[in-house]
Amino acid sequence: MLDILFFGTLIVYFLAVVAHFLALAFRKEQIIRAAWAVFYAGFALNTVFIIARGVTAGRLPLSNQFEFATAFAWCIALMAIVLHRGVREPWIGALTSAAAFLILSFAALQPRKISELMPALRSAWFGFHIGSAVFSYSAFMIAACISLRYLLLQKSATEEEERLSSLDYLSYRLTAFGFLMLTLTILSGCIWAEQAWSAFWTWDPKETWALITWLIYAAYLHLRLQKKWRGKRMAVFSLIGIVCVLFTFIGVNVLFTGLHSYK
């Protein structure tokens, strides 16, 4: 049953991507609306799946790569939908639904077995630490989608200044939110690590890469707020940032072993 829900979500996200690209090709209001409706449906299924898995496991379903990726895809969809209520911009639906689909595809490659929570993970900090990471990564992901849209739009060069700068601003706001969330993730991780393993910080690869990501985004914020960088340069920076996020999330587990890989 859980598997049906999971693959159902995956398929519906895929349909949402297809519909969004069709909407881009034909620019018909009905197709755009239909594409969003499919994306909404995918989000709803994703929500049901997460709840069902949590109920089956009897705990927060956030304890391994599979569960994290499922929540990550869910949060991307959530933020895209919330954003869509205020901002109507072509490409955003296509890019964000593609992001949700790809992240969920990554989840599909992971083992789905529900396992007992190891003692180190049984903590009040668990939901907080991982929940804030999900929100942070998703905010960075949407910011990157908007930045990509910015770069595409900017290439066509005919676009009005105001529309570009509002995309630029939106991407920055999401990055700022993501940065706050990532800070929460790192700090709650420190407090938790000190309780579980006795040290606030051990430089294991996951921690190190979370710090690298945090520093990259700190540089982004300073270049924007202090050096007044805007537009294309910031959009490129945002794409570098998301590569770091994805490396922290996926690359570290694939390439390195450490406390966080729970192997």
């Binding site: 003692p119 903590s123 940065f179 700090l187 690298i212 520093l215 202090q226 390195f256």
Partner: protein, 410 residues
Amino acid sequence: MKKTLTFLRSMRFGLLLLLPVLVCSVLGSIVPQGEAESYYASVFPGSYHLILGLGLDHVFRTWVFLALTALFGVNLLLCSISQYRAVPAKKTAAVFKALRAEDREPLTAEQRNALEISLKRRFWQKEEGETGTVYTSPAWTWYGSVITHFAIFGILLGAAGIFGMSRTADYEIMPGENRLPGNVSIRLDDFKVRDDSGRIDYVSTLEITDASGRSSGVREIRVNKPLRFGSNKYYQQTYGAAGTVHVSVKATGEETTLFMREPGMISAGGKDGVWYDNVYPGYVIDEAGNITVIPQTSGEYADPVYYFIRIENGVMTPMMAFPGDRVEVSDAVYTFSEPVHYPGIRVKTTPVWIYALLYLSFAALIAGLYLCFFASVASVSVEDGGWSAAGKGSEEELRQRINAFMGKGI
């Protein structure tokens, strides 16, 4: 001198320092840290000389990395101080800019009322000027960036404190009384590997007595639930298993229980006795009646079996025993019992001020970032001719915020 100071506190210097810090961090994540030399020789046969030579096996403890971090700390501190000193001027500038603005957003009497009520509710400070009224966001909103930067400095300082002053040591704690250095003693009452429902959960029940004789009372520690007592923190770190051998000396009636973690001689008189070899968690017997031990299981000792050598008058006899078995050697009786699981406890000593500083800085960092990104930091002048705002953020951003205060949608 002044130039140097300006450079030291500049953001350019901060960004410049960031690059080598990032490079070190990437290297430190690629090369596993703190392994034995032989490990690097086998994993990186071509480059292990370079790795060891450059200290890449402990990047985050090399003087280069520590110096970079220290310089970053200096940069951050100087920068935070100058940001702190710049706040009043920024505030005044915003007030004047708002007051003097020529082109104002129109404001109906109703909107003006809504705006003023909203600003007062948000604790904006009201000042009456000659030309009109000016509201300024509360003092703390102007310090978001300052709080953020001082908090990060606080975290660096706390990290330095831990690096220099925090000590940890691991001890294997056996049932009963255990003496630790520094005149601390731990009495272990119980250690369990699973909870009542059968779920893995390592729980030690113990009582700690510190050097002054003060007792912690009987307490439980488990993974994620360390015990803070005095200036130490006690962690459930690992666990192991030990064979249990009771020795009873016939002549004196003396009884002792030994927990054997490794091979060793057990003897009452000094010469005769048993050479304890090992205890295995289980065994299988084949059709011919041969016993094969199972060296390791998931930590359970379902059918424990002891291997030992009986030594008497220079004659050595390899033997096996099951819990409950007794052997008599010369004037003593050796009884084997169920092996016990025992905890590995980590004792950490950290000055309390470091915890206080770190937790305070963590909270300040979150509060600071919240103020930076989500608080309105501005002055609004409200006149019959309309309103005008100045402060942090773009004009568009300010306009949206003020409109939101008036109840206009964004």
